[in-house]
C-alpha cells in the first residue's frame, strides 16, 4: 500500500479525513505500513547516494556501522517522536500545523515544502535521464558539474520530465499501482547490483574468499578504502554516515510529515515498520550502489562520474537500466504529485491537473541542473533542516506547552492566522543553523540536532511572550 492509498481511506462524506481525526473503522494493520515503507524508500535517488558516499572517501566500518546506527535512530525517531502524536491526534500534519500555527503560516510551510519536493523530484528525473544516456550516448554531467553540459542532456531531461509530469497529472493512481507491482522486483535488482559488484571485485582482485572475514577484508582494502574524498567533496566519517542516515528522512519523522501516515495506525509501535524501508532502501540499496561506483573507480580512478544509468547497465544490463528508469519514475511521480498538493493548498482555485503540470515543469527544469543530484547529500540535509523546526513545534505543542501553563493549538483557540511564536521559532532556528553552517562551526549534516533543541526552547519562550500579549478568544 502506498502513501497515497493511505490518503484514499475515505469517510462516509467522501473526505480523506483531512480536517477530522481518522475514526477507528478506518485504521490499518501493521502489514500495510511495512509494504509502504519498503517500497517508498527504495528509490532512484538511492543510486546516487551510495556512490556519493564512496566519493566522500568513506571507510568500510564507518559506512556499515554508521548506516546500522543511523537507520536505527531514524526508526526510533518515527517510533518515539512522530507515531505517538499521530496515533493520539489522528490528524494530518497540515491540519495539526494549522491549529498551532494558523492558516497563513501553514501556507508558507506548504510553499517551502513544495519547492523542496520539486528539487527532489528534479534529482529523480536526473537519475532517470542517465539511463537514456546509455541508449542515446549523449554527453552526461560529471561529478563536479552544476549546470547542464550539453543540449542533448537538456533535451533528454525535458522529454523524461515532461512524460513524468503528464503521467503524474493524468494517471497518478495508475503509476502508484504500478509502483507497488515494481517494488519487489526493484528491491531484488538493487540486491543483484550489490552481489554482482562484489563478485566483480572478487574476480578482478583475485581474492580468495573462505569466510566472512575475507569479505570484510576485501571491503576494507578495495571497496570502501577510506582515505581522501574526491575533489570538492567533504570527507565522510562514521558520524557523517550516522547523521546522514538518521536525518535524510528528517522531514518525515522529526519534521512530522508522517503524522499523515501514522494517523491510520492502530498502535504507535507500528512505526517500527519504517525499519523495512531503512534497512532495505537506506542500507542494502545504498551499499549495493556504492559497490558499483567503487568498482568503476577501481577499474579507472579517473572516471569519477556518478551516473546511475551506466553503472546499472554495466552490472545488470537492460534489467538494470529498466530499474534506474522505473525507480526514478515511480518515485518522481508521487513527489511531483505531493509538491502539486502543497502548491494547490496555496492556490486552491487552480485545478490539481494544472498545478501538477506546472510543478512537473519546475521539477524538470531543476532536473536539467545536475547540481541537485551531484550535491544530493548536502541537498537532503538542507531539506530536513528546513522543515525540522516545524516538527519541533508540533512536538513541544503536543507534549510540553501545557506544562508551562501555555495553550496548545494556539492559532485555533485565538483565531490567529499567523502564530508569530511559531513563525519566529522557524525563522530564527533556520537563521541560527544557517549561521552555524556558514561560519564553519557545525557542518550541515549535524546542525539539525542542536537546531531541534533551539527550536523547542524558542517556541516555549516566544509562546510565553506571545500568548500573554494575544489573549485566546475562548478565554474572553
Amino acid at each position: 500500500m502506498s502513501t497515497e492509498e493511505f490518503s484514499q481511506q475515505k469517510s462516509d462524506k467522501g473526505s480523506e479525513f483531512e480536517r477530522e481525526p481518522v475514526p477507528q473503522s478506518s485504521l490499518l494493520w501493521f502489514k500495510s505500513f511495512v509494504g509502504m515503507y519498503a517500497g517508498e524508500h527504495c528509490a532512484g535517488t538511492e543510486l546516487m547516494i551510495g556512490p556519493l558516499f564512496v566519493a566522500a572517501g568513506v571507510g568500510a566500518f564507518d559506512l556499515v556501522a554508521g548506516l546500522i546506527v543511523g537507520n536505527a535512530l531514524a526508526v526510533l525517531s518515527w517510533m518515539v517522536l512522530c507515531a505517538p502524536i499521530a496515533t493520539r491526534a489522528r490528524l494530518t500534519l497540515y491540519y495539526q500545523l494549522e491549529k498551532i500555527c494558523g492558516r497563513k503560516l501553514v501556507t508558507l510551510y506548504n510553499l517551502a515544502n513544495g519547492v523542496m519536493f520539486c528539487f527532489l523530484a528534479g534529482a529523480m528525473i536526473t537519475v532517470s535521464a542517465t539511463a537514456a544516456g546509455v541508449w542515446f550516448k549523449f554527453p552526461m554531467p560529471g561529478l563536479s558539474d552544476l549546470y547542464p553540459n550539453s543540449a542533448s542532456w537538456v533535451l533528454a531531461v525535458l522529454v523524461i520530465g515532461a512524460l513524468i509530469s503528464i503521467v503524474a497529472a493524468y494517471g497518478y493512481q495508475t503509476v502508484a499501482k504500478f509502483a507497488n507491482i515494481a517494488a519487489p522486483w526493484m528491491v531484488l535488482v538493487f540486491l543483484a547490483f550489490g552481489l554482482i559488484g562484489l563478485g566483480q571485485f572478487i574476480t578482478e582482485t583475485c581474492t580468495e574468499i573462505h569466510s566472512l572475514s575475507d569479505v570484510w577484508q576485501l571491503a576494507e582494502t578495495q571497496i570502501w578504502k577510506g582515505g581522501q574524498p574526491l575533489e570538492g567533496k567533504v570527507k565522510f566519517t562514521f558520524w557523517h554516515v550516522t547523521f546522514f542516515a538518521w536525518f535524510c528522512n528528517m522531514a518525515m519523522h522529526i519534521g512530522m510529515s508522517d503524522l499523515s501516515v501514522f494517523r491510520f495506525a492502530r498502535k504507535s509501535w507500528y512505526a517500527v515498520a519504517s525499519g523495512a524501508g531503512m534497512y532495505v532502501g537506506h542500507f542494502m540499496a545504498w551499499l549495493s550502489a556504492s559497490i558499483l561506483y567503487a568498482y568503476q573507480l577501481h577499474l579507472n580512478p579517473e572516471n569519477t562520474d556518478v551516473l546511475p544509468g551506466p553503472l546499472a547497465y554495466k552490472a545488470a544490463g537492460i534489467a538494470g537500466l529498466l530499474c534506474v528508469i522505473i525507480a526514478g519514475w515511480t518515485t518522481a511521480n508521487p513527489t511531483i504529485y505531493r509538491a502539486g498538493l502543497a502548491f494547490q493548498a496555496i492556490v486552491p482555485k487552480t485545478s490539481r491537473f494544472t498545478v501538477t503540470l506546472i510543478t512537473g515543469g519546475i521539477a524538470t527544469v531543476a532536473g536539467m541542473f545536475p547540481a541537485f543530484a551531484m550535491k544530493l547529500l548536502e541537498f537532503v540535509a538542507l531539506y530536513g533542516l528546513l522543515l525540522m523546526p516545524m516538527g519541533a513545534i508540533v512536538f513541544v505543542d503536543f507534549w510540553l506547552v501545557k506544562k508551562f501553563g501555555l495553550q496548545s493549538n494556539y492559532a485555533e483557540i485565538s483565531g490567529k492566522a499567523f502564530n508569530w511564536a511559531a513563525g519566529l521559532t522557524w525563522f530564527i532556528t533556520l537563521g541560527v543553523c544557517g549561521w552555524l553552517v556558514q561560519t564553519g562551526r557545525v557542518q550541515i549534516y549535524f546542525v539539525s540536532l542542536p537546531g531541534w533543541f533551539v527550536a523547542a526552547l524558542l517556541y516555549v519562550l516566544l509562546s510565553m511572550v506571545y500568548q500573554r500579549k494575544i489573549r485566546p478568544v475562548i478565554g474572553k
Binding site: M1, E5, S32, K177, N180, I181, A182, P184, W185, L188, V189, L191, A192, L195, I196, L198, G199, Q200, I202, T203, A316, G317, I318, A319, G320, L322
Partner: protein
C-alpha cells in the same frame, strides 16, 4: 486458477532474477548470460505480477 498460476510463475521469476547474481558471486556463470536471465525474469515478472497484484491494489 489463472491467478494462482500467475502468482507461482511471478514468484519463480523473482527467484530467477536473484539466483544468477548469487551464482556470479559464488564464481559461476558469466555476466552477459546473467544479464539475459535477469531481463527474461523481469519480463516474466511484469507480465504475471499485474495479473493478481493490480486487482489487489485496486481493492486496497
Amino acid at each position: 486458477m489463472l491467478q494462482k498460476t500467475a502468482k507461482l510463475v511471478s514468484l519463480l521469476s523473482l527467484l530467477a532474477l536473484i539466483t544468477p547474481s548469487l551464482c556470479f558471486l559464488a564464481g559461476f556463470g558469466n555476466l552477459p548470460q546473467i544479464k539475459w536471465i535477469m531481463l527474461t525474469a523481469t519480463i516474466v515478472w511484469f507480465i504475471t505480477a499485474p495479473m493478481y497484484m493490480w486487482k489487489n491494489n485496486s481493492n486496497s
